[in-house]
Subunit: 463 residues, 2 copies
C-alpha cells in the first residue's frame, strides 16, 4: 500500500506513539489537582507546552491546546473578532482557506459581520496588494493560511503579516499544513495548527495568541487552557503531539529536500505519461510533499477508486467525490480544471519506488476511466446536436462531471472554425471546467447565460 494523503492525516509518527503510550501512566489525572497524580500530569502538560511553543515560536503562556485544528480555528477567529468588536465587524480571509476558516467566516456573516474574500491567482497564491486593498478602518481580523492544503501553494504570510501589523489589524495564520516543516515567520498575531497533520495523534490542535492581541472567548468556558479551550485536557495526546512535532522538525530540512524532488518528478512526468492533464499550484513556492493535477474527461471518484485498487490512497477536489456536487472551493477560486482531480500528498518517509510505481500505474487508471466514460480519445460517434441560431447545441442536462466536457469535446470538431457550441448543463462543475477546457484546448470561452433549464455555456472554435 502507498498512502499518499498526508495532507488529510499523517500516519502516527513512531515518536508520537511512544510518547502517547508512555504518558498514559502519568498523564491521566486532572492537572488542576494538587495531589501527586495531578502534579505529575501538570508537569507533563507544562513540558509539552514549552516544547510546542518553542516549535511555534511563541511564549508558552501564549499557546493553548485545543481538541483539534478545526476547534483552534473556530475559537481563534471567534475570539479575535469578539475581542475587537468595537473596532468593527469586517473580516478578511483568502478564498482558498481551509473549510474551518470559511465556516467561521460564514457564521460571522450570519451574525451580521462582513467578510471580504481575497482572490487568488491561477497558481493559488494571494497577492500581498490584495490584502492591502482589503484592509479597512473597521477590519477586526485578517486570516491567511501559510500554505494551501489542496495544491500546496505557499502564501506570502510574512509580507501580509507585516502589512497587517502596520495597519494595526491582527493576522491569524492557519499553519496546519506547514508547521511540521518550519515556524511561520513574520509578525503574525494568532496561529493555529493540527497535530495529526505532522504525525501527532488526533485530538490535539494548537492555538497561539500573541500577548497584546485582544481576545474574548465566546460561549461557556472554564478555567482550563487560559479559558480558551474548555474541557479536561487530553494530556497523553498533547505530550505525543509536542514530542512528534519536535521529532519531525529535526528531520524537516533533509526530508523537505527529498520529498520536493519526488513531487517535482510527479509534476514533470504526469503530463508526459497521461494526455490532457493540467498540473495545478505554484511550481516553486510550494510545500515539499504536495502535488495536484486534474485529468480531462475523468470522473474523480472513479479514478480514486481505480488508484485505491492499485494500492494508492489519494484525495480529490472533484465534485464527483464530494457530497455537495460542487468542485473544491480552492480549484474554483484558482479557475483551474476540477474534473479528474488528484491530490498526491506524500507523508514523511514516502519511498521513491512507490512514487515511480504511481507514475507507472496512473496512465492505465486514467485510460480505463476515460474508456468507460466514452471520452473523446476513444473513437466514438458524437451525440445528436440540434441547431440553436448559429450554434451547435449539446444537451448535457442531468449529466454530471465530466460528461458535459466530454460531450463538448466530441462535437467541437463538428463546427467550423469561428462557429460556436452551446453546452446546456445543470452541473455546477461545468461552470469551472468548460472555461478550463477552453484554456487547455486554446478555444474561446464566450461566456454563460441562463437557459430554460440549467445554464448555457458558449464556446467558439478557434482552431
Amino acid at each position: 500500500m502507498s498512502y499518499f494523503d498526508a495532507a488529510s492525516a499523517a500516519p502516527l509518527h513512531p515518536v508520537a506513539r511512544e510518547a502517547l503510550s508512555a504518558s498514559l501512566d502519568d498523564g491521566w489525572a486532572d492537572p488542576a489537582r494538587l495531589y501527586k497524580e495531578g502534579r505529575r500530569a501538570r508537569l507533563l502538560l507544562d513540558a509539552a507546552r514549552e516544547a510546542a511553543a518553542d516549535a511555534v515560536g511563541c511564549r508558552p503562556d501564549e499557546l493553548v491546546f485545543t481538541s483539534s485544528g478545526t476547534r483552534a480555528v473556530h475559537t481563534g477567529i471567534a475570539g479575535a473578532l469578539a475581542g475587537r468588536r468595537r473596532v468593527g465587524r469586517h473580516l478578511i480571509v483568502s478564498a482558498v482557506e481551509h473549510s474551518s476558516v470559511l465556516h467561521s467566516a460564514e457564521a460571522f456573516e450570519a451574525e451580521g459581520g462582513t467578510v471580504h474574500r481575497v482572490p487568488v491567482t491561477r497558481t493559488g497564491a494571494v497577492a500581498v496588494e490584495s490584502y492591502a486593498d482589503a484592509l479597512r478602518p473597521d477590519t477586526a481580523l485578517a486570516c491567511l493560511q501559510s500554505a494551501n492544503h489542496e495544491v500546496g501553494t505557499e502564501q506570502p504570510v510574512g509580507a501580509v503579516a507585516g502589512l497587517c501589523r502596520e495597519s494595526g489589524v491582527p493576522l491569524l495564520v492557519d499553519a496546519a499544513q506547514s508547521l511540521g516543516w518550519a515556524r511561520v515567520e513574520g509578525p503574525w498575531s494568532l496561529l493555529t495548527a493540527s497535530a495529526h497533520k505532522w504525525g501527532g495523534p488526533a485530538g490535539v490542535g494548537l492555538l497561539a495568541v500573541r500577548k497584546g492581541v485582544r481576545f474574548a472567548p465566546l460561549g461557556p468556558s472554564d478555567e482550563r487552557e487560559s479559558g480558551r479551550a474548555a474541557g479536561f485536557e487530553n494530556i497523553p495526546a498533547i505530550v505525543a503531539a509536542a514530542a512528534s512535532l519536535r521529532a519531525v522538525r529535526s528531520q524537516a530540512a533533509a526530508e523537505a529536500v527529498r520529498l520536493r524532488e519526488l513531487t517535482a518528478r510527479i509534476r514533470a512526468r504526469v503530463g508526459a505519461v497521461v494526455p490532457d492533464v493540467e498540473v495545478v499550484g505554484d511550481p516553486e513556492r510550494r510545500l515539499p510533499g504536495i502535488v495536484t493535477f486534474s485529468c480531462l474527461y475523468v470522473d474523480g471518484e472513479a479514478l480514486l477508486h481505480e488508484l485505491d485498487r492499485e494500492g494508492f490512497s489519494v484525495s480529490s477536489g472533484s465534485s464527483c467525490t464530494s457530497s455537495t456536487l460542487t468542485p473544491s472551493h480552492v480549484l474554483r477560486a484558482m479557475g483551474v480544471l476540477s474534473e479528474g482531480n488528484v491530490r498526491v500528498s506524500l507523508p514523511a518517509g514516502a519511498a521513491v519506488e512507490d512514487v515511480e510505481r504511481f507514475l507507472a500505474v496512473l496512465p492505465g487508471a486514467v485510460a480505463g476511466v476515460r474508456e468507460k466514460l466514452g471520452a473523446p480519445a476513444v473513437p466514438a460517434q458524437a451525440p445528436v446536436a440540434d441547431a440553436h441560431g448559429d450554434a451547435l447545441v449539446v444537451d448535457a442536462l442531468g449529466k454530471r462531471c465530466p460528461i458535459p466536457v466530454i460531450e463538448l469535446a466530441k462535437v467541437i470538431g463538428d463546427v467550423p472554425v469561428g462557429g460556436t457550441v452551446r453546452v446546456l448543463s445543470d452541473d455546477e462543475a461545468a461552470r469551472l471546467d468548460i472555461p478550463a477546457w477552453c484554456e487547455m484546448r486554446e478555444q474561446e470561452y464566450v461566456g454563460e447565460e441562463p437557459a430554460d433549464r440549467g445554464t448555457a455555456y458558449l464556446v467558439r472554435r478557434l482552431s
Copy 2:
C-alpha cells in the same frame, strides 16, 4: 499510593489502553475518505458508535462523539436551546449541576435567556415537584444530572424526565458520574457523558440527542459527527472509550456492591474517628464510590496536603482549595459545612486495605491541621472581643476559612446562654459555614447584616 479521586478522572482502564494501542494502527486516517485506510477508520468509528449507543440506550445515529464531556454539555445545551428558540428562552437547571452546565446557563443568560435554578435538599437531591413548579410554557430545555459529582447523591431523573415529557419539554441528563454504572432510565431527550470518568481516555465525550428532539448546532460546523462535533475524529480514543465502557459495565453490578460497602464504611466510621465531622449527601440514594464529609475548624487545602503526604489523593469543595475563594456551589446549595471538606471517590478496584488505612490516617491528619490553626479543641486563649451593643464582637476581617468559625467557636463559651456573638468576616465561606456550625453545635443562627467592612453574622448561644 491510593488514588481516591475517580470522580475527577479515573485511571485508564486496561481495556482502554489495549484498545487505544490496537487502534492507533487502523484508526488514524480520515473516516470520510473512500480509500482503504479511510474505510478501516470508518469501520472502527461505526463499531464504537454501535457499542457506545448500546451502553447509553439509544440508536447509533442519535449519538455523536465530542472532544470532552464538557464539550458535549456545551453543545447539547446550546443546540437544544437554539432548536426551541421559538418556544421560548427559559432554561431550568438544578443548582448542583456540573460547572459545564452552569457555565452554559450563564452564557445563555448573557444572551438574554432566563434561567431557573432548582434548589436541593440538605442531602443534595432535587424534589420532582420543584421541576414541576419550574416548568413554564416558554421553557425550552430542562437539565438534570443523573447523580451529583461532589456528594454522590442520585437525582430522580426518571421521574423528572417523565414530567418533562408530559409538558413537551426536552430534558438533558448529564450522566457523567453514572454512565459507567448503568444506563439512565426514563424518557430523557438528550444525554451527555465523559469517557475519562469511567476509565476511558481523555478527549472523548458523548452527546446523545433523541430523534425528534429539535436541535440546531450553533456556530461554525462541518460535516463530521452529524454536524454536531466539528473537527477530525479522534478514533483511537473513541474506540478505547467504547471498549472500556463495555468492560466497566460488565463488572458494574458486582463492583457497585463492593464499593458501596467501602463508602458505607467510611460514612459510618468517619464521625467516630474524627470529632466535629459532618458527612454530607444522601446515605442511600447515592453513587457507589463517592463519600463526602466536612471537618470543622479545618483548612481544606492543608488537609489535602496532609493526606497527599500520606499517599491519599482526594479532592475538596472547600473555598481554600479553589482559586475563587468561594466554597463549592454544590455545598452552598445544600447549605452544609464547607470547611475542611473532603470528597473520597473510589475508583473501580479500590482496595479495602487502602480504605482502612485512610480511616487510620485521617484522624491524625485532621488533628494536625487543627492544631496548626489553633482550633478550639486545642487549649488556647480566645482573641480579644469587643462589645457591640449586647453582643460580643469577633473581628475576623481579612481571615480566611476556617478561621472565622474557629474564632466564633472559641468565644461562644464567653457569652451567657441567650447572649449573642457577632462575627465580622469578609470571607465568602463564612456565609455558609457559620450557619452550618450553628446547626452542628445546636446554637441559633440569627442572621447576617452588612457591616462597615464585610458582613456581620449573628449567633445566639443556646446551650
